[in-house]
Amino acid sequence: MWHLLHVTIHLCYFAINIANALESHLISKGLLRRYKSLHISKLQYLAIVIESEDCRTSNVIELLQWLADLGVKHVCLYDMEGILKKSKDFILEKFDGATLFQENDVLLDQPLMTLEFASFSDGKEAVAKAANVLFMKYLKSGSTSSYQGEQIFTESQMGEALKTVGGNGPEPDLLLVYGPARCHLGFPAWRIRYTEIQHMGPLKSMKYGSLIKAIYKFTMVQQNYGK
């Protein structure tokens, strides 16, 4: 009975995927009016999370080309195991429309796309390193009184400490997950407070139309930020 239920779910998703593929094809041909003009300027920083086993550099480079064609200026490529980080030089060599993102880069209009490479170690481990930086600062400040349970560190000090250890790039506006499930796979927690997260399916079946649809959906979102 359980297996029957899950086979039915598989069939449902199969049908949904066919419908999505058709829609994606129509979008990429420019036949759906809604998606024709994209307010790309709203997308300041884009993060792409890719399932490590799926990280084919040819697919990644094609995706970057699509993003460049759409006018996306700043991209962070993330995979849990750091495979993309290891292939950083190869990707930058093959995709000549980009430069490496510098920590102190202000998000200005630039002719080339900036690329950042991140992995799981830039998340929790970076926070542990930043904690040590803050602790050292406190000890070196020579304060002799013990903590009184009051707040000693602020979130902005934490942000600065993370920058020092190389774990604090800009907060992405949109995070696209290319993998089997909608799951951010450990993208640095400090950076995704209000990031819109969209699931794109496996990288090997990526579609240009789906990319446009995801970015369009993002540009239509209004956030209250808690208010």
């Binding site: 009975m1 359980w2 239920l5 899950h6 779910i9 598989h10 849990m80 195991e81 799981f120 998340g123 929790k124 481990e125 926070v127 542990a128 390193k129 930043a130 904690a131 040590n132 803050l134 602790f135 050292m136 406190y138 000890l139 070196k140 013990s146 903590y147 707040q151 000693i152 560190f153 602020t154 979130e155 934490m158 089997p180 499930a181 909608r182 799951c183 951010h184 796979l185 450990g186 927690a189 400090w190 995704i192 407070r193 209000y194 990031t195 819109e196 997260i197 969209q198 699931h199 979102v221 956030q223 930020y225 808690g226 208010k227």
Partner: protein, 289 residues
């Protein structure tokens, strides 16, 4: 006539309950999530949509929460976490914040009653967040609830109040620093410190690792619960809004478009089915990280 109507409603209710139990039986052949978290979004939109009085959406939302808790505990989910009030929500109008605090106070008293869901399912209630930011009556009520349910051991309900992930991480880092400071002071006073306060006794490499990741993790507000398996956010919004960012690396995000007061069995069922479809993959990811 009235009695017949009541009887029919009762029979219908029993049938629905029986059907739900059957479905749970079938589903429990597959993996059951250990921890489900909810972002209860859409109460105000529901109020507007149904043209209700202000605050009505939140009250109906509370009933929806009770239903979801019942489904979770009946199905065998041991840990449930809810995002009740964010630190950012303090930016709302003082009247709205006050009415939410009043509602919270009222509902805390209710869940401690004899026949409530908490006692029926043996649920331990934990309030996670910077409780110092709450007004005294609410904070005291929360502490009373935690004390009253401390001995319950069948399930856990974490209510995130005055909570954000970044505040949680900040707090955990601070607690870790305080603990390390106390350790060093103790070593120093016992004469074994090697002048640690002036850091003369440590190599650079040791100084970079005085505070470990495990120290930070044990001081998180959510340390009493394992990482969530599913986070459900209603209203179709696709962000986490500073909720469980640290704990959700391998967590399935289910984002139905219904508003929170409208959530029901159908959405719960769909979340479980999707979770079971990808459980093998997420479990593999968890073991690798």
């Amino acid at each position: 006539m009235e009695r017949i109507r009541e009887r029919v409603i009762q029979i219908y209710g029993n049938l629905v309950s029986l059907l739900q139990k059957c479905i749970f039986c079938i589903l429990s052949v597959g993996p059951i999530p250990n921890h489900i978290a909810f972002i209860m979004d859409g109460n105000r939109r529901f109020t507007k949509k149904c043209k209700l009085m202000e605050g009505a959406g939140h009250k109906i939302g509370f009933s929806a929460l009770m239903s979801m808790l019942k489904y979770c505990y009946e199905f065998g989910v041991r840990y449930v976490t809810v995002y009740a009030f964010s630190i950012e929500n303090f930016k709302r109008s003082p009247e709205e914040v006050q009415s939410l605090m009043d509602l919270m106070l009222e509902k805390i008293e209710e869940i401690l009653k004899e026949q409530s869901i908490v006692n029926r399912y043996g649920v331990r209630v934990i309030f996670s967040g910077n409780l110092k930011l709450l007004s005294e009556p609410v904070r005291l009520a929360a502490e009373r609830a935690m004390l009253a349910t401390a001995k319950n051991s069948k399930a856990v309900l974490s209510i995130c109040v005055a909570y954000t992930s970044t505040n949680e991480i900040m707090h955990a880092v601070q607690e870790s620093c305080e603990e390390k400071w106390d350790e060093i002071t103790l070593l120093n006073s016992s004469g074994a410190g090697y002048g640690l306060i002036s850091l003369g006794g440590y190599e650079q490499d040791e100084m970079d690792h005085l505070i470990k990741l495990t120290d930070i993790e044990k001081h998180m507000y959510m340390a009493a619960a394992p990482d969530p398996d599913i986070i459900i956010r209603t209203s179709g919004e696709t962000r986490l809004s500073n909720f469980l960012l640290w704990q959700s690396a391998n967590c399935y995000l289910y984002l139905p478009s219904v508003l929170w007061p409208e959530i029901g069995f159908r959405q719960f069922l769909w979340a479980i089915l999707n979770f079971q479809q990808i459980h093998f993959y997420l479990d593999k990811q968890r073991k690798q990280s």
